[in-house]
């Protein structure tokens, strides 16, 4: 990408270069020594601009959830570079890290464990504000902030008084997103936030994310195994297979002309909602 000389180019929001992560393989641990390291992610590259959307597609064992944790430094990567607005995240000190994590928020997959089951929704949603001391003086318990956040994600403010298990799966996910929005992040990393949801609830979440992107300029890393959902939401797509990036690029391009055999296999395996008697027996052309 070329720029006129002298133009100030804002650094992309997130830059990932050659990211690699290994974890100890406890299954192969010998009795008296440390467990051998198992490669979960290898050589991952991508760039996320402000307001951009990246879809990360992978099946189980692909390392996509590990990538989410690596990006937020929950599991620090051993190799490669992770740059946030041009700065090296791996060199951040504690204060920088807190700031980083307020600006890049992680939304978890399983809303049952992602929300404290014994706290009311409004306390869950306002917790980040309380933790960082950002509540307005008139709003000591965060109720007003919580109401605003709930409304932002399309939930009635009254739901604030409920407990997580009293909400539907789709509602719980939206609570998770509301909490992530509390600190006004620049980017959301959504780790399988639509799994286990009904078609309609999924559509609602996708619509919400799209809206947040449009209205707030929120960048999005959308991790999913559902290619169709990724297609409807993301401009850029990254396909992971066993920790390795198999395909990466513009979404429209990849879906129209998949280059890698694995991508073609994935596309062929997706049942589209239209009658096609020959689909079952058709093998993907490898």
């Amino acid at each position: 990408m070329t720029h006129p000389i002298g133009a100030i180019v804002p650094a992309p929001l997130l830059q990932v270069r050659g990211l690699g992560l290994s974890l100890p393989d406890m299954a192969k641990k010998p009795f008296f020594s440390a467990a051998p390291m198992k490669r979960i992610l290898r050589d991952v590259h991508f760039t996320l601009e402000a307001g951009g959307t990246l879809g990360v597609i992978g099946e189980s064992g692909s390392g996509k959830s590990t990538l989410a944790r690596a990006l937020t430094m929950l599991m620090p990567p051993q190799d490669g570079a992770l740059l946030f607005q041009g700065r090296d995240v791996r060199r951040f000190d504690a204060a920088d890290m807190v700031a980083y994590r307020t600006q890049v928020q992680l939304v978890f997959q399983d809303p049952m464990s992602a929300l404290n089951p014994r706290r009311r929704v409004r306390d869950i949603v306002s917790q980040p504000l309380r933790a960082l001391g950002r509540l307005a003086r008139e709003d000591r318990d965060g109720a007003r902030a919580a109401a605003q956040l709930l409304e932002r994600v399309g939930l009635a403010a009254q739901l604030g008084g409920r407990y997580p298990h009293e909400l539907s799966g789709g509602q719980r996910q939206r609570v998770g997103i509301a909490r992530a929005l509390a600190l006004q992040p620049l980017a959301l990393i959504a780790d399988e936030v639509t799994s286990g949801l009904d078609v309609s609830a999924q559509a609602r979440i996708v619509a919400l994310l799209e809206e947040l992107r449009r209205d707030n300029g929120l960048a999005l890393v959308f991790i999913s195994h559902d290619l169709s959902l990724v297609r409807s939401l993301c401009d850029q797509v990254l396909i992971l297979r066993q920790g390795v990036v198999v395909e990466h690029g513009d979404a429209a391009d990849i879906f129209a002309n998949p280059r890698h055999a694995y991508t073609r296999e994935l596309l062929d395996a997706i049942p589209l909602p239209e009658h096609d008697p020959g689909w079952l027996e058709r093998e993907s052309v490898v």
């Binding site: 189980s60 309609s200 559509a203 395996a269 049942p271 589209l272």
Partner: protein, 310 residues
């Protein structure tokens, strides 16, 4: 349509001379608990014929799991069947008690559930669990059990059956576990196999293989009731479908017809909310709240017309 239900005649079933393996007529089920009455099935009509795969499509809370439970006699204690009939393989099982149901389960009707990890006993080997089914329902003993186990696993396309029989559930992949569960469900050639979201937890490539397997089973003469919320699976695998919401069947018919021309607004709404990677311009439209409210109001009106105090 005076009561708002749309029904397209399923030509295939009408032609089939064989009586359906599962016939549900006008089923009304209520939950009675702590003095409150909640209708959960409101006049459900459904039939599944031998060799055919019928889908029951809906969102959570719509009643589809309840229908599956009713067809296997697993409705909760608090559920009361107030009207209607369930006919399983020619027998009226509507008000059967537990001992009688036990004679049917496994032999005439079996179930494949969503999560194979919890469906299988984690502390017993696969071979032992499969053997249980065979010993109980077919009275096989000794060497015959082992032989049948191997045969069943081959039927579900498990590549190394001898090895798998010796393993524990957690040592197998999700797809493999689901195959084992299907093998167990199929062991006694039940007339009806009910699959409740069998592929939701699986990777999409594995899902295709499992769907292929289910299709093959239907080809052997089993009737399959496929409970799912995934319209893609319905379109590719099933012969016919019923759309359920609020315990009412809103639309039913053959798959080619319904997908080509969905009649009910809810069916259309579900299709509009289903993502499609082959249509770049297709925006996902969540099901309209107004439509849901209207359907709920219709359900309440129906309850009142039935004299149900909710």
């Amino acid at each position: 349509m005076t009561d708002g239900t749309v029904a397209t005649v399923d030509a295939i079933d009408a032609i089939a001379a064989v009586a359906p393996v599962l016939q549900i007529d006008d089923l009304h089920v209520e939950i009675r608990q702590s003095g409150r009455v909640t209708p959960i099935l409101r006049g459900v009509n459904l039939s599944v014929s031998a060799g055919r795969i019928h889908a029951l499509v809906g969102e959570s809370g719509g009643g589809k799991s309840m229908v599956a439970k009713a067809a296997t006699g697993l409705l909760p204690e608090s559920a009361v069947t107030t009207r209607g009939r369930i006919t399983l393989d020619g027998q009226d099982v509507t008000r059967w008690d537990e001992p009688r149901w036990r004679t049917l389960r496994g032999r005439t009707v079996s179930m494949v559930l969503q999560d194979p990890l919890t469906a299988l006993n984690p502390v017993r080997r696969i071979g032992a669990q499969m053997a249980d089914v065979l010993r109980l329902h077919q009275g096989l003993r000794g060497g015959a059990v082992e032989a049948e186990n191997l045969r069943l696993l081959e039927q579900v396309q498990v590549r190394d059956p001898t090895q798998v029989l010796r393993q524990y559930p957690h040592q197998l992949s999700g797809g493999m576990r689901q195959r084992v569960v299907i093998a167990m469900a199929w062991a006694c050639r039940p007339r009806l196999i009910i699959c409740d979201e069998p592929t939701t937890a699986l990777d999409v490539t594995v899902q295709k293989q499992v769907l292929r397997l289910i299709h093959k089973l239907a080809g052997e003469g089993q009737g399959v009731l496929m409970v799912t919320h995934d319209l893609g699976v319905v379109a590719k695998l099933c012969h016919s479908l019923s759309v359920i919401h609020g315990g009412r069947i809103l639309e039913s018919g053959s798959v080619p017809e319904v997908f080509a021309q969905p009649q009910h607004a809810y069916t259309r709404a579900l299709l509009a909310a289903t993502p499609r990677f082959d249509r770049p311009g297709h925006t996902l439209v969540p099901v309209d709240d107004g439509l849901i409210e209207q359907l709920d109001a219709e359900a309440r009106a129906y309850d009142r017309s039935q004299g149900v105090l909710a």
